[in-house]
Symmetry: C2
Subunit: 397 residues, 2 copies
């Protein structure tokens, strides 16, 4: 495990100090620490923040590094799902190779933990799960990766998927996934009962994609809340996207928010510019854990994305029209501590005792870092440098 004295850094843009790292953890923070014989890294007055947390990714899907693929899929969710199933094999979007590239890309941007949904369906079977699992093993000292067994092509409409998810969860998947129980599966009771049963069987948390808008999404959300309460899964469920909380009936959204808070159900957002979004400040006031993610990166769904969670903080700021520095700092909080809270990362943060997952940024303030998105000067994972000046310090094919 790594020992390192990191000198002259400014935690969250505050006063300059030193960080003493021993055995991959922050032993102490303060000036004038004795570190005889330890390697020393001069932070040069850079801002230090804890490692960025990518809390909603799809590491198995990206075509990064495969040459440009023209996007022509139709507009509906079903168009994109079936287009992807077809292209995955046609183009050989190999989940192991592609997830490894994503790990290098994420590390280069200062991300030190990722929750990745991984497609499981009766065509791919466990190909995606096994590929991302191999990548997780290979980069264990670079990135914490949590795998969600995700029924991208539907669960009830695709018999055999549930058994495959069960197998993935028995073999190391960390989280039970779900997807639009009305919109995709056309059987909300069926899907939700199935995934909550899986969660209980394996003792693992749940993360459900919920794109359904307005009252339809609210209905599915209520069914999720009901099961969370009935099964005592308080604090163990995440709803991703939750566009329905951005509906125009604010009183209805506020009532749902209150119920989410009561069951400590977390939310994940990508802060999409083109969709209604949960009201971040109401979510915050209600004490609901809120994290963020990049979603798909240059995949068959869309050409966008770069796995840069500092840029995601910018997009959060723009989406919510955060203009005061304190609010922009909250956008970054969502992309750091918010993700750690949802992934239940133990020992996270810029504090004594925590793992030394640290990112250095050469700007004057945290808000400037979010709006300017400088190349990450240095990224430490458990005290070990994994990226410098925007480049990962390890190779992938």
């Amino acid at each position: 495990m790594t020992d390192l004295l990191l000198t002259n850094v400014r935690p969250f843009g505050g006063a300059a100090t030193d960080i003493l790292i021993r055995n991959g953890r922050i032993e102490s923070i303060g000036r004038g620490q004795s570190a005889a014989g330890m390697p020393v890294e001069d932070g040069g007055g850079a801002i230090a923040i804890p490692g960025l947390v990518e809390a909603h990714a799809h590491l198995d899907k990206s075509m990064w590094g495969m040459g440009w693929q023209v996007h022509q899929a139709g507009p509906s969710l079903e168009d994109k799902i079936s287009n992807e199933r077809r292209l995955r094999r046609e183009l050989n979007i190999d989940p192991e190779r592609q997830s490894a590239r994503q790990v290098a890309l994420a590390a280069s941007h200062g991300t030190t933990a990722i929750r990745s949904h991984v497609d499981i369906d009766t065509d791919q079977k466990l190909w995606c799960f096994e590929g991302v699992s191999a990548t997780r093993e290979r980069f264990r000292d670079v990135m914490d990766i949590e795998i969600v067994a995700f029924p991208q092509s539907g669960l009830m409409i695709r018999p055999g998927t549930l058994e495959l998810m069960d197998e993935a969860l028995a073999n190391g998947a960390d989280v039970v996934g779900g997807l639009d129980p009305c919109g995709i599966d056309r059987d909300p009771k069926g899907q939700l009962d199935a995934i909550f049963t899986l969660s209980q069987k394996h003792g693992k948390p749940i993360d459900i994609h919920l794109h359904e808008p307005d009252e339809l999404g609210a209905f599915s959300m209520e069914m999720i809340i009901e099961r969370t309460r009935a099964l005592g899964l308080r604090g163990k469920v995440t709803i991703s996207h939750a566009f329905c909380l951005g509906m125009t009936d604010r009183a209805r959204a506020a009532a749902l928010t209150e119920q989410l808070a009561r069951e400590d159900i977390a939310l994940a957002t990508t802060a999409p510019a083109s969709r209604p979004v949960p009201a971040a400040m109401e979510i915050r006031q209600a004490g609901i854990r809120l994290c963020a993610g990049s979603d798909g990166i240059r995949d068959t769904w869309s050409p966008y994305g770069n796995l840069d969670m500092l840029e995601r903080a910018l997009l959060i700021g723009l989406r919510y029209n955060f203009r005061q520095d304190a609010d922009v700092e909250y956008a970054l909080h969502i992309c750091t501590q918010g993700g750690a809270d949802v992934m239940e990362l133990r020992d996270y943060g810029l504090r004594e005792g925590a793992f030394a997952d640290i990112v250095l940024l050469d700007t004057e303030t945290v808000t400037e870092a979010v709006v300017a998105r400088p190349k990450r000067k240095l990224v430490l994972k458990h005290g070990k440098p994994v990226a410098r000046d925007g480049q990962a310090l390890f190779d992938v094919e």
Copy 2:
């Protein structure tokens, strides 16, 4: 005037070719051109696009390079306007110095033409106008700058402003500005009559900021349309922002769109993630000129922005959920030809006879350029290199 042979470039990502530039203009496009004694620039297979057009900027406002200023202004438009008037002198946000910095920043990102609104009020008087005018003169060979005489603090509520605008227009301002005739001036008839009269007096076009939402904005928009029609100003009016066209009553918005098209009234957008926006594809189908801009850059209003119109194309794509390559290319069109159409730039584009305002981008496709926003490899203004590898080739203080 500049002569140059630009070899091995791919116009809009098409087949590689050469571009022969003589006297600052594109003389011919094609392989095997004879250019004895001319300087040669090897494009290395990069994509060539015409210069980016920044069609809604505020060059006089930015605090770029002044050290970080914490943002604490209140939420209303009036809060931000009065906060700015106060800080401008307190912090010495010198319009000449700051606009020069903006020109260098814009050029570094491949922008070759800018329409800038410039604040005119009874506190600043013509300080901002004169500063940006001086910058325009200084950088005449680097950037086309169009100046809008803009009553940021209101026209009717601030007697004396109209006379100052009149003076600016007599002294080189190109466009008559306006601002929320209901929301700010509380006198739509008064403001609109005043600025349309100025337009007629000086024979200059109009560009009106219209943030007013929903039916209020629709009302102001109708008053603008009525005056455009009555005074025969077809093709001479731009409405910036036009949030009201994103209102939920789509039939109402469609009827307004039809009237805008009839009077050839152009629209400018920043594609804000947090506001309703005109439906870009409906605007396009109606044949309405649509351009884009960065709006304020790291000013007293907000910490955001970098004057990168390739990034603006990305934000347009995200705002409108453009996922197919052809649609992302349209986002870039808005930031190039769209701006040229609104600014009525003569001889614009990648075609023989046009001015050689050219940007080289090292990506495989145009869509990849928009999503990846690479450093601009080379920027030519009238054939002359003004930026290379993301750096302006000229100095400002």
